[in-house]
């Protein structure tokens, strides 16, 4: 080797090994510096605590019907009032969060995962794989969801699946058939990306497909995925109440944010009893916005050109 090489090793060894600190740790450090992201994350944690631990401190955890306490406005005993069966709204909102948060996040993770995977594969490999995946997507897109839900309802009832589990199964199935729109978006983005010169460079380097997808394409999809994910969570929480409309959600005494809002779906409750729908609505809002702020922070951290 020429003399330069010798000098080189010098330079390399001169520098402390600290540089070796993992990139992940760097990202996390950067994330922690981002006040907004930390704030958003804190709110999410708070919501979780509130929902999973909060009800333990409530005197109304049994969720008992109490006809003498129907539709009371917020007062000292019932901080957020009572609903039309005299149940404490605050307790119910907290209990509802357990399911809503789980469902929202789980269904988001699942559908983003499936959609991204299939979209990425289609957009990346093109050719036959793309054709097959996208044509299946087309087919799935043409299927109306209404009869599908009815059939699920009937089947699950036929198979005697306990009502408590149905929702999760349905969410799973819905993610399994609901990927086309997400996959198409991911694929679209990927079609642009794969023509960029840096992807040509990865071909020249002979990188493995997995690395190309995970290390090169995925980071460039992150902004899109974060948007999709944050939009998805709110949607999933609300759509849970749609599922219960088909008998596929939770059963009535069990509250969710979605079905609590749903129960107030009429002019009178809307006008006269805001305490019935404002608290669950606000909970969804707070969760969604907190997750979104966190997502924005994450996005900035992963965006090399952003500095906050």
């Amino acid at each position: 080797m020429p003399s330069i090489q010798a000098e080189v090793t010098n330079v390399a060894t001169n520098r402390p090994q600290a540089v070796k600190s993992s990139l992940w740790r760097q990202s996390i450090r950067k994330l922690l510096k981002n006040k907004l992201a930390v704030g958003g994350f804190a709110v999410v944690v708070f919501m979780f605590l509130l929902c999973f631990v909060g009800p333990l401190f409530s005197p109304y955890t049994d969720n008992k019907v109490n006809m003498t306490m129907m539709n009371k406005a917020p007062n000292i005993h019932h901080w957020l009032g009572t609903d039309k069966l005299g149940r404490d709204v605050l307790t119910r909102v907290m209990q509802a969060g357990r399911i809503s948060l789980t469902v929202g996040i789980a269904s988001m993770v699942l559908s983003v995962f499936i959609g991204t995977l299939l979209g990425a594969i289609a957009g990346y490999y093109r050719g036959i794989v793309d054709q097959v995946i996208m044509r299946i997507a087309d087919l799935l897109l043409t299927i109306p969801s209404l009869p599908l839900l009815f059939i699920f309802g009937a089947l699950l009832s036929e198979w005697k699946v306990p009502t408590d589990y149905r929702m999760y199964i349905v969410m799973l199935i819905l993610s399994l058939v609901g990927w086309p729109s997400l996959a198409r978006m991911v694929r679209g983005q990927l079609l642009s990306l794969r023509e960029r010169e840096f992807m040509q460079a990865t071909i020249v380097l002979g990188l493995r497909d997995r690395r190309k997808l995970v290390n090169h394409l995925l980071p460039n999809l992150v902004p899109l995925l974060i948007v999709i994910a944050t939009l998805n969570i709110g949607g999933a929480i609300l759509s849970e109440s749609v599922l219960s409309f088909f008998g596929l959600g939770v059963m009535p005494p069990t509250p969710t944010w979605g079905n609590m809002i749903d129960a107030a779906n009429n002019m009178i409750d809307f006008q006269e009893r805001p305490w019935l729908w404002v608290p669950p609505g606000f909970s969804i809002f707070a969760t969604v916005i907190a997750i979104n702020i966190f997502g924005d922070g994450l996005r900035d951290v992963l965006d090399p050109k952003q500095k906050r």
Partner: protein, 321 residues
């Protein structure tokens, strides 16, 4: 004669010209039109020529980065266009391309340490624990320091990015490097360093280069054989000494006379090419160069000149020599 490392035969690459909403093809850009190059192991072949004459396209098609239209490319005897994808991928580290535009060839979201090291990992050329040191080493040999390793591409200057591109190719210990203007954005001192590095690597490891450049002084220094391209075709190839001492083709002569000399206010005779540069979509008849050639005759307009051997390794496509 030993087996050629890279053997390009009658390579053609046409790009369709599209028009309208449904992108009907209305014509073709003959970016590379019937070019043959044979490069022996350990040799440096310089490719010079008009901008837009298809040099980069030759480089890209030579490693099957874009599909060819016709012709044959053999790397160490294997036809790379007939290789199945996985085998081709495994062959990749042996033939590297240094991109002309370094910035767009770097993923904006990948730190350069990773960008350089990942291929080594993927091909299992070194254990994961050594990667960082290997990267630092190659960075240093390209004149970059190890503190650059965790930065993103946009934090570098043009020349620094170019060196990253070089480092990324070198780190794989390739046998063939197609370098598309690798030193154009470097200051002369670093340029010298890189060129020296290239020579040293060639001496020690028998590396082979297809070196695309506009800087004839660099080409002269580095290359043993040189080809001159004009409008998708090769117009002259010769050994370095032949070409620089006895250029035969009028275009080569014009090129050599136009090289700027770093002596201020020096007045030199330059062969000035007349006329507009013709279009590769609609190349002139006969000799493609006739529209701008100071010596063109009627014959040049009508007849396509044959690529003739003028003795030794000197080939030229011109009616007048």
């Amino acid at each position: 004669m030993s087996e050629a490392l890279l053997d390009i035969q009658n390579l053609k690459k046409y790009f369709p010209i599209k028009a309208g909403l449904l992108s009907r093809t209305v014509g073709q850009v003959k970016a590379v039109d019937d070019i043959s190059i044979t490069i022996q192991p350990g040799e440096t072949f310089g490719l010079v020529g008009e901008s837009g004459s298809g040099k980069s396209t030759v480089g890209r098609t030579a490693i099957r980065l874009t599909d060819k239209t016709a012709g044959e490319v053999r790397f160490k005897g294997t036809d790379i266009y007939s290789l199945p994808p996985e085998q081709l991928r495994q062959l990749r580290p042996k033939m590297q391309l240094i991109f002309q535009d370094p910035y767009s060839s770097l993923n904006p979201r990948v730190r350069i340490g990773e960008a350089i090291g990942e291929a080594v990992l993927d091909h299992g050329l070194a254990p994961a624990s050594d990667i960082r040191d290997i990267v630092k080493e190659v960075l240093a040999s390209c004149g970059l320091s190890s503190y650059h390793i965790d930065r993103f591409p946009h934090e570098f200057s043009g020349g620094q990015r170019q060196r990253i591109g070089i480092a990324r190719a070198l780190v794989l210990n390739p046998e063939l490097i197609i370098a598309d203007e690798p030193v154009s954005a470097l200051d002369v001192s670093i340029q010298a360093q890189i060129i020296n590095l290239f020579s040293h690597l060639q001496e020690s490891k028998g590396l082979t280069y297809l070196f695309i450049s506009h800087d004839l002084s660099v080409v002269e220094h580095l290359c043993s054989r040189i080809g001159v391209m004009y409008l998708g075709s090769m117009v002259e190839t010769a050994s370095r000494d032949e070409l620089f001492r006895h250029p035969l083709h009028p275009y080569t002569k014009a090129l050599l006379s136009a090289v700027p000399i770093p002596i201020p206010k020096l007045k030199r005779e330059r062969i000035v090419l007349k006329g507009d540069i013709p279009s590769p979509a609609n190349p002139p008849s006969g000799c493609k160069f006739h529209t701008r050639c100071p010596f063109a005759e009627q014959r040049c307009v009508e007849e396509v000149p044959v690529f003739r051997n003028m003795g030794g390794e000197h080939w030229v496509a011109c009616h007048l020599v």
